[in-house]
């Protein structure tokens, strides 16, 4: 009997305690990110200052961002979402929002206004590409090349079509093993005007045209699937030039001192940011909202640029980016003379179709 009473009493206490916390904010937060230098920049710029202000909070990291969509879907089906905040690229955010796996939010309520007083919605502007997406950074997919492999008497490559010019710039290239970006570049260099690229790519003939252009360099291409591949191939001297994320090239050039140069022409802008998984407990949600309000303000976003060469998503953060980092930012005027913006809606529709075509072309 006594044991029973104790059990009952203690369970009643636990219930009371958990109700008490539910009205408050939970003190544990699981953040999902990409690992490596990028996650480190988030740790330094957002999480460490936040934990300093709120020492009661423990943050658990999970480096699963590249499979976040599949994992979130599985968690949702098992009705057991264990993540509180997930860092994903914009295309994945759109998919998660479409599937009802990410929570829609109200920018005015959730995000702080800019330092200059601009409302959050205007400060982020068009970068809020989905109702669930809280942008953090602008990054770009662009080319790097070995400066010591440029043939004598020839200028270093400085435009996208040099990638397709095997005569002037002989050597291997590395391209990502998926159609996105490659198809656009191929069409651009096959004489299609920039604003017609997606209209052309939507047709079967346009896809053939792009693949025919890629065919001209197919034998010299090494296909990569992880962002670290191209920097490694460049450092090993395996390739002459290759595409990857600009932050990766920055670390090859600045931190590892490799003879590598940047070619910013026709770089493709993309976004990375947070989503909040749908169906969080109230206490967890309150904590996440509190953290996000802090982590996406003007100062925090600008501070992240100290640790990695990606541009902050807020306009009001741009002036605060340290001078020595500005030249490495994809958004720097000098670098962004000719840019492309990832067309989310187009690829949401055509990804499966073109991917099947592209993979079968690769296998030929």
């Amino acid at each position: 009997m006594n044991l029973m009473k104790t059990l009952l009493a203690s369970s009643a206490l636990t219930a009371a305690a958990s109700v008490g916390v539910a009205q408050d904010m939970s003190n544990e937060m699981t953040i999902v990110s990409w690992g490596g230098a990028y996650q480190n920049s988030q740790l330094k710029a957002y999480v460490e200052p936040y934990v300093e202000m709120h020492p009661e909070v423990t943050v658990v990291w999970d480096e699963s961002s590249n499979e976040a969509v599949a994992k979130l879907r599985a968690m949702n089906e098992a009705d057991n979402v264990t993540w509180d905040l997930v860092d994903v690229v914009a295309a994945d955010a759109i998919r998660l929002c479409d599937e009802g796996l990410a929570m829609e939010y109200d920018p005015e309520e959730l995000l702080a206004a800019g330092d200059d007083g601009t409302a959050a919605e205007d400060d982020f502007g068009d970068l809020i590409v989905s109702d669930c997406f809280i942008p953090q950074i602008v990054y770009s997919t662009t080319f790097g090349y070995r400066t010591d492999m440029v043939p004598e008497g020839v200028d270093a490559p400085d435009e996208i079509c040099d990638v397709f010019d095997l005569e002037t710039y002989p050597g291997k290239r590395s391209l990502e093993k998926r159609p996105i970006n490659n198809m656009e570049w191929a069409l651009l260099c096959d004489g299609v005007a920039k604003d017609e690229v997606y209209d052309v790519l939507a047709t079967a003939e346009g896809q053939e045209q792009a693949l025919a252009k890629l065919d001209t360099i197919k034998d010299s291409v090494v296909w990569w699937s992880a962002g670290a591949d191209t920097p490694q191939l460049l450092a090993d001297g395996e390739i002459f030039m290759g595409s990857t994320y600009n932050g990766r090239l920055y670390s090859v050039i600045e931190e590892q001192d490799q003879p590598v140069g940047m070619m910013w022409d026709a770089q493709v802008f993309d976004l990375d940011g947070w989503i909040i998984p749908a169906g969080l407990e109230d206490a967890d949600l309150a904590r996440v909202k509190h953290f996000l309000n802090f982590a996406t303000d003007t100062k925090r976003l600008a501070d992240q640029a100290n640790y990695i060469a990606y541009g902050p998503a807020r306009q009001s953060s741009a002036p605060l980016v340290p001078e020595n980092m500005k030249q490495h930012m994809p958004t720097d005027p000098e670098n962004s003379k000719n840019t492309f913006v990832y067309n989310y809606m187009f690829w949401a529709d055509y990804r499966d179709d073109i991917d099947a075509r592209f993979q079968s072309w690769l296998a030929q």
């Binding site: 479409d98 599937e99 009802g100 090993d236 529709d349 499966d352 993979q359 072309w361």
Partner: protein
Amino acid sequence: MSNAKDDDAVAGPVPVAPVPNAPTESGPVLAADGTPLKRSLSRALRRQKGRALLLVAPLLIFVLVTFIIPIGSMLFRSVENDIVSNTLPYTVQRLASWEAESGNLPSEDVYKAMYDDLFVAAEAKRHTRLGSRLNYEQTGISSLFRQSGRGVDDLAGDAADALEDAVPAFGEGETWYALMDAGSGEGNTTLLSNMRDRIGRLNDSAASAEMDFVPSAEIAAVLPRTARTYTEWAVYTVTEDERNPAERDPWELVSLALLEELPTADLSGLSAERAALLQQAQAVDFNVPSYRETLAEIDEEWGTVTPWETIQTHSSKYTAGYFLNAIDAQKTPDGYEWQPEEKQILLTLFGRTLFMSLMITGSCILLGYPVAWLLANLPAYKANLLMILVLLPFWTSLLVRTSAWKVMLQSQGVINDVLVWIGLVDDANRLVMINNQFGTIVAMTHILLPFMILPMYSVMQTVPPSYLRAAKSLGATNWTAFWRVYFPQSVPGIGAGSILVFILSIGYYITPEIVGGTSGVFISNRIAYHISSSLNWGLAAALGTILLAVVLVLYWCYDRIVGIDNVKLG
């Protein structure tokens, strides 16, 4: 006497069993406690079996819960297709009688059903999920549904505004509730349970929450669409939002349905208060446009036959579509056909997966056999050292081993550098040994080699060395002694190792992804892509099921040819 007869029969020379139909005069044999021996025996056996079952129960439950059920439910996705009829129930129902071949657009009725379905789906945020599903079959449907979800509430919003402007009481949730709820009158419980069912299926959950609302039978008779949409909303509000429908405004769709039904409705059968309220609303001048035009205005695709064909073709609860896609075919309104040639890839990949797995198994046998022989025949201290060398790769991360092969094989890598240095290969024509089939086969052979060596070793250890000596003393040459005496005894080890290596390699995807380039990837890489990138889990499940079936068939063939009893792990 009879006993003696029986004894004779049993002790008789040939028929051990009693002769069938032999006349027996005795009753059944009894056990000590008087029950028939047969029954008492079988009871004891049953108890034993039960105890044995209890002993293995934890393992059985563990395997069931963590292995069979998840895999079964994953494989089931390859045929599951109820999302279409769950999200668009009324459309699917009405579209069934439409003849796609006629080339005519579906009737206004179908458009109206689609409008209702889309509205509810958009409220529940299910329309984009359906869009992604249908996009696997028809490129472009994903954005059609996303676009439609955004635009669908415009018309209904106008209707709600018009109604509220004319009769402000309709701006109050309570008015609606009083109008639609049965209250003390007769309720239509069939409608309620149907709508509970429908909303539950839409949200993939059982709509079991308690609710007070019961749609009024008289309203449901006079204004069927209004009653239906209001009930849908009430069930949705209670189960999903967990709010009281009496305190909330219904979806604008209900206003639209009401305004459309009122002009032709016969209000004479209704109670006085209801009739009075509805008569006010009857005066509202709202022109309900054609739903076909409304949808075509949101997205012109609705004005074409294509999306309707796709919905109709793929509206059944179970589909063969994923399996067809998995073998490079597709289901079109005109029947089954192959994918266009430039999109065929999966059959090639299946073939390549089998071919390369066999190559890897073959090279593992060639490399592993001598090592296993050495291990089994060297003196113990040397064999132990060799064993450590064999096991060493086991203790190293898979990624490290794969990356090491990259360093070895790439064109600026160790092997090429050495070959160039000794002058065998020209610096300009370095060998291409990675990012192709060769790279995959080399790296995977190395990774899987221990799985071949260990079973072979443990079988060879049991072969007594005296057999070889005996063969030689009888005049056999070294080769004959090996081939006729030793090798047949080691075959079970080869069989066990081959099955292990083959089945492991058929499902590998990390190593081919890293060193396979374009010509050295497996079907498993495509499965991984569809699981984690394209989210087409149905296709991934179909590919997985086919792969599983192929492995089982090969296993069966192996059993027929070699015999599975011949496989030994030691």
